[in-house]
């Protein structure tokens, strides 16, 4: 179980920005997320970074209900 935070194109593809998903590791949570949100989300996930509790993380990391997994697609820059 972990809290999922989806941003920008990942939020748009999933149709949701925050979710709670079962799973003991980042990999398990994201596999369930793909099942839930479909292939459009999977395409974005493939090119995204994963941050765990605010820092870049590894997909084999184990997670609990208080951990936040953020999906961060490529950015386009703040301005000009």
């Amino acid at each position: 179980m972990a809290r999922l935070l989806l941003l920008g194109p990942a939020r748009e593809a999933a149709g949701i920005g925050n979710d709670e998903i079962d799973g003991n590791s980042v990999t398990e949570v994201l596999q369930e997320a793909v099942r839930r949100y479909g292939t459009g989300f999977e395409d974005v996930l493939r090119i995204s970074q994963i941050w765990i509790n605010g820092e870049p993380g590894e997909s084999r990391t184990s997670v609990g209900p208080h951990d936040q997994i953020a999906v961060l697609p490529p950015i386009s820059g703040g301005c000009n």
């Binding site: 941003l7 941050w51 953020a70 950015i75 703040g78 000009n80």
Partner: protein, 169 residues
């Protein structure tokens, strides 16, 4: 951060930015230079001609943490800076409004220019922030996507040896 802090001022909010307020805030008796950068919504991008607004999406906590990292890194690379402010809008920002304002004060102008340029480069490269371009009747994510970098991986802005002696006076 609600009231103006002393040395570093980070803000991500949906209210309009005032570069004048930040410039005044950054003034220090021992600083002879204040450099202010306004990143504004302009009417065109790589492939669009008539942009009328941008819309920024972020997570405030993640983004502010990265901006704090950027300021810390600037203070490591330039050891004698005065005040640093980095304020970023989120949500819809109209044409010719500032989406981001960066202010750096320093005793001398060389470091003030260099640190301000570093900060906006780092904001564009290291902060989780997504930009939609809005035009009459449509919108789309900005196309120039790249992976978020760590602040420490930002390339250094080497001062040009030919001009750095003049610029560090």
């Amino acid at each position: 951060m609600e009231s103006a802090p002393t040395l570093d001022w980070v803000s991500i909010a949906s209210t309009p930015l005032s570069s004048a307020e930040l410039t005044t805030w950054a003034t220090r008796a021992n600083c002879g230079a204040v450099v202010t950068f306004c990143g504004m919504v302009r009417d065109n991008s790589h492939d669009l001609e008539e942009i009328e607004a941008l819309e920024y999406e972020t997570d405030v906590e993640l983004a502010e943490r990265r901006i704090v990292d950027i300021i810390a890194e600037a203070r490591i690379r330039w050891t004698n800076l005065g005040a640093i402010a980095i304020h970023h809008r989120m949500g819809r920002v109209e044409l010719s409004e500032s989406a981001v304002v960066i202010v750096v004060s320093a005793p001398h102008r060389g470091p003030a220019f260099e640190a301000a340029a570093f900060c906006i480069d780092a904001v564009k490269s290291c902060v989780p922030m997504w930009k939609r371009e809005l035009w009459q009747g449509g919108s789309a994510w900005s196309e120039e996507g790249r992976a978020i970098m760590k602040v420490q991986e930002m390339p250094s802005l080497e001062p040009d040896p030919e001009t750095s002696s003049a610029r560090t006076q």
